[in-house]
Assembly symmetry: C2
Homo-oligomer: 351 residues x 2
């Protein structure tokens, strides 16, 4: 499977990925090799990684899985671990896990002694098709997602679809929401293909999604323009995700589950404001509700979610800017939403 070239690094798949990491480690004279896992990837992915990796690991670092641990205190523990295990500026950190782990491991590596090398090996579908590209690293601040972080590129990203067999269906579907988004914002044929026939672990599709995201990021590395389209569904989706995480009465949603709801809601806004056809809107709603249970929202929930909107890190000067669809495969950015449309969007979602 062909590699995808990003800014300063490549995303390699399968056999090429195995060759790439082994050659990289053989060529670089790293002082220490650190591997970061969580309790899940330690059990399910580490044995597979050991078969792939020809070198020896100097120290295994472990964190607890889950967005609630994506906190600066976890980073503090990791910085101390790196220091205690004699990490220095010539060390490398290999991050083996989902997006929470690779975001946090990337941030820790980017800031330990002002920056050491790191490699990301995403083990969930979501992190393969989303966090693998763009160099975003960081942690949450309370319920506010990714408020603290830096943009920094890994040495390489390695995709092994075999890790997906270690995930349950709910996790895998969460990643599928991002793949569907890639079709919606950029490639109608790809959307139609993945809507028509679900296959969550197909390497060619994973590669296609990575290539779409990479293409967008390369056009706009600093997120001044076109890159914003990647936020489709995320403005409301992030608020929904934060709200449910923070509220003991709500079921905690996976990222893909939250943005699936976000994409239906923002699809409705697209229909109202950017001429997305009712037919396309209904098709979007149907596609997402095939894979994702409808989330229950009370009026109080909706009010609280709209309050959270104004803290989204994308919001400049207190304004909330949305990405909307003009058509499937074609997105527009920087759109303000008249306040009254939000309740109509939630009403359409509930229909």
């Amino acid at each position: 499977m062909e590699s995808v070239k990003s800014q300063s690094y490549e995303v390699h798949l399968d056999e090429l990925a195995k060759a790439a990491i082994n050659q990289h480690i053989a060529n670089k004279n790293y002082s220490k090799i650190f591997l970061l896992v969580d309790e899940n990837t330690k059990e399910h992915c580490l044995p597979i990684f050991k078969e792939i990796f020809d070198h020896s690991i100097d120290s295994l670092l472990e964190i607890k899985s889950g967005e609630e641990n994506k906190h600066i205190h976890t980073c503090l523990q990791l910085w101390e671990d790196l220091s205690n295990f004699d990490g220095d500026r010539k060390s490398i950190l290999i991050n083996l896990g989902g997006g929470v782990l690779t975001d946090m491991g990337g941030f820790v590596a980017s800031t330990f002694k002002r920056g050491i090398d790191f490699i990301n090996i995403p083990t969930t579908l979501l992190s393969m098709v989303d966090a693998s590209i763009g160099g975003k690293t960081g942690v949450d601040l309370g319920s506010l997602k990714n408020q603290v972080g830096v943009i920094n590129q890994p040495q390489m990203v390695l995709i092994f679809p075999k890790f997906l067999k270690t995930l349950d269906a709910r996790q895998t579907k969460s990643g599928y929401a991002e793949m569907l988004k890639h079709g919606l914002i950029r490639d109608k044929a790809y959307w139609e293909d993945i809507v028509a026939k679900a296959d969550f672990t197909d390497a060619a599709r994973i590669q296609k999604s990575i290539a779409i995201k990479n293409d967008v990021v390369l056009q706009d590395p600093t997120e001044q323009g076109v890159r914003k389209i990647l936020n489709f569904g995320h403005t409301l989706g992030h608020a929904i995700e934060s709200y449910c995480l923070d509220n003991p009465n709500k079921k905690t949603l996976l990222h893909g589950e939250a943005i699936a709801a976000g994409m239906i809601l923002e699809g409705y806004l697209s229909h109202e404001l950017r001429g997305l056809s009712k037919l396309a809107l209904d098709e979007i709603k149907k596609a997402f509700l095939t894979y994702f249970d409808k989330v229950e929202f009370t009026e109080d929930d909706i009010d609280a979610i709209l309050q959270l909107l104004k803290y989204d890190k994308k919001n400049s000067h207190g304004n909330v800017n949305f990405v909307l669809l003009q058509d499937i495969g074609n997105a527009a950015t920087d759109i303000k939403i008249p306040e009254e449309l939000f309740s109509k969007a939630f009403a359409y979602y509930k229909e």
Copy 2:
């Protein structure tokens, strides 16, 4: 006074500095202007800053002064403050303080929402001639200095020598140690000038020191080669500083006081290993002891300091590399020290 051009920003002095910040703020459409102070700069420097600054400050953020507060927990408080006061990606943070404050404020700005603009206004002689150039930001990890951070450049650095009048003599002398270092590693005439006649607040000398450091940093932004000469006196100096900070029985040293001792010790190593003349060595010792009291070291102190050396962030693969002088004004890097020379160096220091 002429400005010093660094990589992506300029260091402006006095009247030019006043004009530069006011014009910058007028030209940029910042959503919020945050000013960071500590209890000392709030009392002594903020009134002066308000006379300089033509714009209004949206929120004043305050931290406690002192190296012991240069910790990730202080950063967490600042990130939360920025978030609570509606900071967004178009906000700017102005750091008004010494090196601890500008290092930490720079790190917080570089990582808040993956990076917002910041301006440094160093208020101590040490931070004017040292932290003002190079883009190093960060915090300590326990007793290990600057273990967590990033390299990132401010929008500009502003030097107002009038702030030095707010400092006590001990603080000012601490900065003088770095100025003396600039002469030792790069410019014999400058060394002779500042040794001959002490003047801690002379703007032309401050500018000369900034220009020397800037010249070195521009030649080697990523610290692969010549930039390492800036660490003269710092390898042992940092270990001494950390040790005294952590040990309740030792008087806490200011940075300049610690590296003054470090420069005498590393001067001795230079004499032993790189042919620095005994005459030059004695001249160095005499110059530093004119301004800085001799530090008392027991044998146990020395053992503990040498243990700390191996954690210095400059040490790769567990090796300790020193910068030594071949002559006054001429430094060499990457020198290993035979273990037995350290006790001889401390013996010379105590003589």
